[in-house]
Subunit: 391 residues, 4 copies
Amino acid sequence: MKKIGMGLIGPGFVAMHHIDAVRRLGDVDVVAIAGSSAESSARKAKEYKVDRSYGDYRALIADPDIQVIHNTTPNHLHLPVSLAVLEAGKHLISDKPLALNSKEGKTLRDAALAAGVAHVVTFNYRGNPLVQQARGMVARGEAGNVNFVRGYYLQDWMTDPNVYSWRSDPAKGGVSSALGDIGSHWCDLAEHVSGLKIVQVLADLSTVIKTRYSAGASAEAFSTTAAGERTPVQVTAEDLASVLVRFDNGSKGTFSVAQVMPGHKNDVELEVSGLGFSLKWRQEEQNELWIGHHDRPNQVMMKDPGLVSPDARRYVHLPGGHQESWADAFKNLMMDAYAWIAEGGRPEDKPAMLPTFEDGYRSTCLVEAMLESAAKGGVWQDVAYVAGGMR
Amino acid sequence: MKKIGMGLIGPGFVAMHHIDAVRRLGDVDVVAIAGSSAESSARKAKEYKVDRSYGDYRALIADPDIQVIHNTTPNHLHLPVSLAVLEAGKHLISDKPLALNSKEGKTLRDAALAAGVAHVVTFNYRGNPLVQQARGMVARGEAGNVNFVRGYYLQDWMTDPNVYSWRSDPAKGGVSSALGDIGSHWCDLAEHVSGLKIVQVLADLSTVIKTRYSAGASAEAFSTTAAGERTPVQVTAEDLASVLVRFDNGSKGTFSVAQVMPGHKNDVELEVSGLGFSLKWRQEEQNELWIGHHDRPNQVMMKDPGLVSPDARRYVHLPGGHQESWADAFKNLMMDAYAWIAEGGRPEDKPAMLPTFEDGYRSTCLVEAMLESAAKGGVWQDVAYVAGGMR
Amino acid sequence: MKKIGMGLIGPGFVAMHHIDAVRRLGDVDVVAIAGSSAESSARKAKEYKVDRSYGDYRALIADPDIQVIHNTTPNHLHLPVSLAVLEAGKHLISDKPLALNSKEGKTLRDAALAAGVAHVVTFNYRGNPLVQQARGMVARGEAGNVNFVRGYYLQDWMTDPNVYSWRSDPAKGGVSSALGDIGSHWCDLAEHVSGLKIVQVLADLSTVIKTRYSAGASAEAFSTTAAGERTPVQVTAEDLASVLVRFDNGSKGTFSVAQVMPGHKNDVELEVSGLGFSLKWRQEEQNELWIGHHDRPNQVMMKDPGLVSPDARRYVHLPGGHQESWADAFKNLMMDAYAWIAEGGRPEDKPAMLPTFEDGYRSTCLVEAMLESAAKGGVWQDVAYVAGGMR
Amino acid sequence: MKKIGMGLIGPGFVAMHHIDAVRRLGDVDVVAIAGSSAESSARKAKEYKVDRSYGDYRALIADPDIQVIHNTTPNHLHLPVSLAVLEAGKHLISDKPLALNSKEGKTLRDAALAAGVAHVVTFNYRGNPLVQQARGMVARGEAGNVNFVRGYYLQDWMTDPNVYSWRSDPAKGGVSSALGDIGSHWCDLAEHVSGLKIVQVLADLSTVIKTRYSAGASAEAFSTTAAGERTPVQVTAEDLASVLVRFDNGSKGTFSVAQVMPGHKNDVELEVSGLGFSLKWRQEEQNELWIGHHDRPNQVMMKDPGLVSPDARRYVHLPGGHQESWADAFKNLMMDAYAWIAEGGRPEDKPAMLPTFEDGYRSTCLVEAMLESAAKGGVWQDVAYVAGGMR
């Protein structure tokens, strides 16, 4: 069987999960990885059980056995690495956020469209079957007009001041922290499920932990505290934010993000409400979709191939009660991405679920509008976004 | 046994629950009720199994067997009725909101202080044992500095456009609907549990259902649709709102209220978070307090006399697992109110849990600031409130 | 208003809750209580805010102002006290278990029928609106033939070996402990909701804590450990049991009871299943009824006057989301009991929900069959029960 | 990188999940599959993206590129296929149940020990990190002596009488249906987590649906109803059972299994209780471990590398809140299996979590004892099992 060759640049926290997902597809060959040095790359390649490794990402891009490249580098390297891939005319899967700001985001979106390749950004929560179920129910008008979209994305891994990574460093992680890192996920989900677009935002930002203690080497996400001497670093990026949003149909929404809320591990909640019913989905209970009714009992739809709508069924791989979760949803993203790639990556063939650089660029515009709203002291701010033609 | 005489003015939806609560105290005698006419009062008195009834509230106030009066009239009658009670020097328990606006609220607060009687406003969710448990844990500093307070109060009983009551009529219910009716509860809980005061607000309001159909006679709250001819009424008061708040310690908060969200019956959620832990309490699961930790398993404290702190124990009347709920929390409010009354109602004797006209007035100031913020298009608005000396 | 006079014999743990419930009815006058001595009765009467007290229960029975008597004495006194009440021709509400064994139970059932008074035994969980909702759904055949009934009743208050009360003493509590105390509740619920009768049982019993330490004076239920010298007592009654049951329609069931399972406070779960749907109700989440479906989403019906069936609505007193719990369900029992009493207590007028001495006697037969099954080493045992003519 | 060659015999429902799991390991090459005919095997191989296929399983066994064979054939073929693999001296991973009865089970266990290869049976729920966490906590004595083990395994996919597969046919599925299929999983979990062995059982069996309608061709598990003509088949195997068990330390247990309970998809609950605490784990909420306490708040430990014990950490692959579920637990089994294989498959190197033919044989003994108990009308039955020397 002819396999598609895949290479990965940036072997950090999420890299192993990219590799895991594509291995499950059966017809993808993980050819090589590239890290910051030949030594570290070789070490990671062994850990990941990958045969080839490169100390320079340009060499990986040039590898003729590789047709698809995954960019999982730190945020500040997204732009140069992704541009190099696109210039080489290879298919590209970028971790989110697509770029440090909307200018970079637009550059990448435009470059991807020009390159004519498949381009994907990992808003992976879309890959959950019940997210697709919710999206379908709303799209078919079953809930009626969407009046309100609410929720949050709360974590606690930065509760400890000894947690310090490139994500808190504006030069490497971008000027935003919590909004860019997890608020972007929430907004993507909100727009994807509701079918609406956010046109105005108003944000209130806080930096709860203003001094963090760096261990020097940049820690990976979710890593626990290492021992050793530490240097205090003043943090300016937000670790807590609440945002009001207005949608293009005139409806309202609101969400909060935080990375310093004890007890919340990866707590994403999204609720979309019309007069017909409310839909609520929590990432940590991703196999259940709550359907709230006014005049009859509420419902809990379990992820079950016999219960979901036909359009969501392709994302279900096990019977009801045999739960599917983070890695399975991530795999669904890759399943659609490689199906698109296998057909050539033409815009018109893009699977509807799949988030592209269009969505990645759009996300940078949303975060930027929020930061601007906050910088102005908390005012309503229009979202500046130039559509590029992708669905 | 000498019993305290109680009278009630305004036999609507909540009146029966006032009567039920004081009957449980054992030493309160429900002497009389007064409604809008002699006939309707007599009918309601029979239904409530009360011996005496009055068609004029002034007559009830004058009844020498009555020492305590409960004001459960529609909102626009709160001011005149409460003033008449205070002028008569009788103890007064008013349903919330205390008054239609902050001017009225201040008038009543000042009158209550001047009268030297016990004055209570029914922010009844305070009466839950686990609300008091949470308040104690925060007050003792166990959670650390409170960084964030979030939550919501969502209902669905106004989802049907045929629901129309005096609450939607600005002349009778006040200019605000959802914020005044249920947002006031949330804010009171948030301040009570966090020990903080809201000093600035920013609100975004919506009227999802702009035309409602009135059956003529004013329906009680939570009543189902009656048959018959109906008149369309244009509604201007909000049935949905999201609010950002800032506290006096510089911390942030946010909440949403809605009365048109299918599936949410009386869904109050409050979360108060410090770096030590997060506390989450949901009114519909009021026998559980969620305690979120970063570095050890989360906890769920059940309402159990052996588990709660000593200061919360007096609000627990049954062993763990023998759940206590709405009526029990309401009774706890009355238990403290009548204990205060029995001791004379002096300000310095007020039980710490008990909400007074000070809190009722404060609530009108908060709602007013939110409406003003929204009227200005969504700007940060200071809360104008003149403290009166009550704890 | 003419009030019904009520007296209570046995002012222990549950007595206050009997008094609380009847006070809420509005037309019942708590006239007097009787305890084990004049002094203790007077003290309890003051605590309960009751005017009259007796040191001898016969004096209370003779009080002409009393028409209804509540028997909340320790189990071994149920028989003599109840017989004395019935001989006096007064209405009688007995705490469960009705008696120490089936012989006593039959004596009391027969005496109650002969006396022609109202007779009630407090299987109080029936009073939950959603228990009545479930019963109605099954009775109307909506679930199809009931194939299986399962659940448990688990507590943890006897986990501490220093907990010792008359309940563990065969002479005072009866030969059974957990089965008689809480297993009886589960069986009553199972039969009440399923509409079936248990005809055969097979039980496996354990005494997990074989030595308990008595503080001398008999502690009340759910009481915490007191200090002081303690005497070891060998316990033979079961604190853990699992039981298989067979119903009169040939269907099967099973349940476990335990009073030494950490974390379970008063954890009653009952599930009744047909091919149409399964119904699951948990006492600690008593405002929700889970309805499990094979081919459509599961449902959660909240206790809401607009959602329950008409026959269950009379047990609902608050709108949805305004939760009702232990005390409210207990009050519902008293509401039906006193309504029956007000009409004269004739058998044909008994409200369908109300458990009588017939049910109390039946319960002693079930427990006895379980003990016999266990005593024989775990064999299937027929339930010996002589129906008496009550519904 | 040298990869281990894997082949699979029996491409039914679960086969794809075996292949998915081993692909994720990175160093396993899925070489070939074998089905019932050359045509069907070729079709399935294409679907699974496997290069090689065989119409005869003996040919697959002989393939020199294959070192490990997965046996996922229908139950009645487990014996001949597994024996052939063992005779060829290849490592063997068998789906559960290991065999149709204990005689076959012992034959296979003995053959596996004699062959000196790695042998694994897929009691896959062991692979959940929180199952290992629970096992570790019990093994370290933290819960105290285990007094009680309870739970259930409930499904609803056979609620429809049109569901008929080889599982209901005694000749192909074995004499037991629900007990063999899912009761075996529960017992394995119960023994694995508690560290105890079941020595006596008493079972009550039912066949709720006595007539099923076969579509002719044998349907796969969890498949929905197909159209077309159907033949009625009388079913004798149980689809519902409740069992009492006694452990080797004298403690008790009980569980129920059913495949006809609407709303329960794959609902496995296991609770293990000592006086120290109770542990409860539900498969459908597998990222949470409930820890019930008597004298302090209950806990919910989330699957989080920072919260679980060191010995359970190797089964955690994602940060807390990034849920891991069925496929991840299955992969963990394969991870340990192939790690064992890579080291040669010697008995003394077996990872402690990994279930072997010893466990598979033991399971057939347990099921057989239950069937015998039921056949005798419900009596206590000793478990006949001959230990073979594997841990």
